[in-house]
């Protein structure tokens, strides 16, 4: 493994990453359902063994730093490599190339120190709770993992349960909790342990708006407010913009841009943004829009969770007459448009400008 000779600067940086690369072998086994029963895995392993190895870079030469007291947002679509990157930093995966430091410790050479310096909170990781234990017993377990003495542990558990509104559920077991309450249990772990560095992997995914709001409030007040540092991965532009001083945009394992939200928006440059809302925009109509004069990119986000309308964002060189041409083109294709508006660039537009696709895709 090639590791460069970077020297950490823990006084300034909580996380330092230099040229990190993580790759996986991609091989297809025997399709399930071929009816080989228990012998399936043996035959499948043999088939995989005989295949040529194909490497896929999940994290591809990432360089970044997180300053002390800073929460860095990591924005990108599914499969961009965000979670793999965090798992590398959390020592759950070994780096293939490059070097990384968390709290000044080398993730390859000092994994134990790194583990004690950070807390990884993943979406859906609540499945890692012990479902035979009550909420309180689970929190005791987390406290034990971090070597917190019993009296102190009890004090912190009481405080945490109260803060997160889980006191009434202390004797219940995880299967009886709602998804939001389980996510809160994960945060309770973070609240109890207070490591200098946090990695939050899509902490609000699957939560209702109230639950997501509570989680964001927790992050703002208890983590950012206490001077803790960390990385937050998310699909949600508003979340990244609200919580993070700086945002890194990741795609295909690479950090394609990094800066404050304002700096990033400036990179969209002279483009103007038109947003069209319609019940459905067929792909051939989208293709036609792309060929209209003055339009650089047109990308569509499928109907969201509410399932009502698609939203098309058009990046235009010049707005003069463009809205009219777009409206005419859509009308001739028989598409009923709810609205066509000019909007300010968002972080998503930065992503579109860099990759020609939307994060939600």
């Amino acid at each position: 493994m090639a590791v460069n000779a970077a020297t950490p600067d823990p006084e300034r940086f909580a996380v330092e990453v230099y040229g990190v690369r993580k790759r996986f072998i991609s091989r297809e086994g025997l399709p399930l359902g071929w009816g080989f029963g228990d012998a399936h895995w043996i035959i499948s392993s043999l088939i995989k063994y005989r295949q040529e190895r194909q490497w896929k870079n999940a994290v591809d030469g990432v360089d970044l730093t997180v300053r002390r007291g800073e929460l860095l947002g990591l924005l990108g679509p599914n499969g961009a490599g965000k979670t793999t990157f965090l798992r590398c930093l959390a020592t759950l995966l070994r780096l293939d190339e490059g070097s990384a430091f968390v709290n000044g410790y080398d993730v390859v050479r000092q994994p134990d120190e790194v583990k004690l310096s950070m807390n990884l909170i993943g979406s859906g990781q609540w499945s890692a709770f012990d479902w035979g234990l009550t909420v309180r017993q689970n929190l005791h377990f987390f406290g034990t993992l971090y070597g917190i003495a019993k009296a102190e542990r009890n004090r912190r558990i009481d405080e945490t349960l109260e803060w997160l509104g889980l006191t009434g559920r202390a004797k219940d077991k995880p299967p009886t909790l709602s998804a939001g309450e389980r996510q809160k249990m994960l945060l309770a772990k973070a609240f109890m342990v207070r490591t200098p560095v946090f990695f939050l992997d899509e902490p609000t995914v699957g939560l209702d708006p109230d639950g997501a709001h509570q989680v964001r409030e927790f992050i703002t007040r208890e983590l950012i407010g206490s001077g803790t540092s960390g990385i937050l991965t998310t699909h949600r532009m508003d979340e990244a913009e609200d919580l993070c001083a700086r945002v890194a945009i990741m795609d295909h394992g690479r950090v394609v841009a990094i800066g404050t939200p304002l700096e990033l928006k400036k990179t969209v440059g002279e483009r103007s943004i038109l947003e069209i809302r319609a019940r459905r925009v067929p792909r051939d109509a989208l293709q036609t829009l792309r060929t209209l004069p003055g339009i650089r990119t047109a990308v569509v986000a499928p109907a969201g969770e509410e399932g009502l309308e698609e939203s098309v964002r058009l990046h235009c060189e010049d707005l003069n007459g463009t809205a009219g041409r777009v409206a005419d083109s859509l009308a001739s294709a028989g598409i009923a448009v709810s609205s066509i508006e000019t909007t300010q660039p968002t972080l998503e537009d930065v992503f579109i400008a860099l990759t020609n696709k939307r994060i939600a895709q």
Binding site: P10, F24, I25, D38, W41, I42, S44, S45, K48, T83, T84, R87, A90, T91, L92, L93, R94, N103, G104, Y105, P111, D112, E113, K115, L116, S117, N119, L120, G122, G124, Q125, S127, A128, F129, D130, W131, G132, L133, Q137, F141, T144, L145, Y146, G147, R194, T195, P196, D201, S226, G227, T228
Partner: protein
């Protein structure tokens, strides 16, 4: 906020912290075992039933009809029950490491334990210890059923010798147990019943190692194959020691014990190397965790 000094202090807790993790794993495994009460009651009932079946089988066999058994100075019932009890603990050694790896992965416990120094080894140690504990409970149930329902008398004149044999038996099979566990990662044996070492050795034991009947009744060539299995030696030695026939230094016993030591000394390093390689590979590929 935790300083780097605090991190170093925490790391210094080292072994004590690791032991508390092992203890917690054991406790969690117990909670998990008893979590579904009807299932727990059924498992206990099955243990009692299995013990009763073996004792009843023993009653069916006329003492004079099994001359090879008689050479152990015990009835067939005692013969089969001692074989089953010892094999239970020995087969735990063979399967517990792979089983622990499976449960750590499928119950997503590794997701949590991996984030802490020594977490994975603590989890594996706790799970393996719990499996031994269950085996121990089973053997106690065999004894209780024997005394309570079938009026057998327990007289073990040299218990320390029996325990030494048990420890050597476990030692001889630990390497194979670790080798079997490594297949989780090295051969992608991620499902229950996919441990190839357990397959091969476990299959042979029932037939060849003298658990249910003396190996002397097997054809010569099969007896020869059976002699390669550590279980054959451990179970025979244990039976001889149980009724006080042989001490540790008796001629036949010495050969059995020597075989166990040599077998363990050869296979343990191989098993440890394979296990470490499996862990390394799993961490490189991220296959220890499912969600995080």
């Amino acid at each position: 906020m935790m300083s780097t000094t605090a991190v170093t202090d925490l790391k210094r807790q080292g072994f004590r912290q690791w032991l508390s993790l092992v203890y917690f794993t054991l406790k969690n495994a117990y909670f998990g075992w008893t979590f579904f009460l009807p299932s727990f009651v059924l498992i206990m009932a099955q243990m009692f039933t299995a013990a009763a079946i073996y004792y009843l089988m023993g009653r069916l066999v006329d003492p004079g009809a099994a001359s090879d058994v008689a050479s152990y100075h015990m009835g067939y019932g005692t013969y089969i029950v001692t074989g089953v009890m010892f094999n239970l603990i020995l087969s735990t050694t063979l399967s517990a490491y792979h089983q622990a790896w499976l449960s750590g992965y499928w119950a997503t416990q590794f997701d949590t334990y991996l984030q802490h120094p020594g977490g994975v080894t603590a989890y594996l140690a706790g799970s393996v210890l719990f499996d031994y504990l269950i085996s121990l409970i089973s053997t106690v149930i065999y004894v209780i059923v024997g005394i309570g329902l079938f009026g057998i008398t327990i007289d073990v004149p040299n218990l320390p010798v029996v325990l030494v044999i048990l420890v050597l038996g476990i030692f001889s099979l630990t390497g194979l147990g670790l080798l079997g566990a490594s297949t989780f990662s090295l051969l992608n044996a991620k499902q229950q019943g996919q441990n190839p070492v357990d397959w091969l050795v476990g299959f042979g034991v029932a037939l060849l190692a003298g658990v249910y009947f003396p190996p002397a009744v097997l054809p010569n060539w099969l007896q020869h194959v059976g002699r390669w299995l550590p279980q054959t030696h451990a179970i025979r030695a244990a039976r001889l020691a149980l009724n006080g026939q042989s001490g540790l230094t008796a001629h036949g016993m010495r050969d059995d014990l020597l075989y166990l030591v040599v077998f363990g000394a050869v296979t343990l390093p191989i098993g440890m190397l394979a296990f470490a390689a499996g862990l390394r590979r799993a961490q490189r590929q991220g296959t220890l965790t499912r969600w995080s």
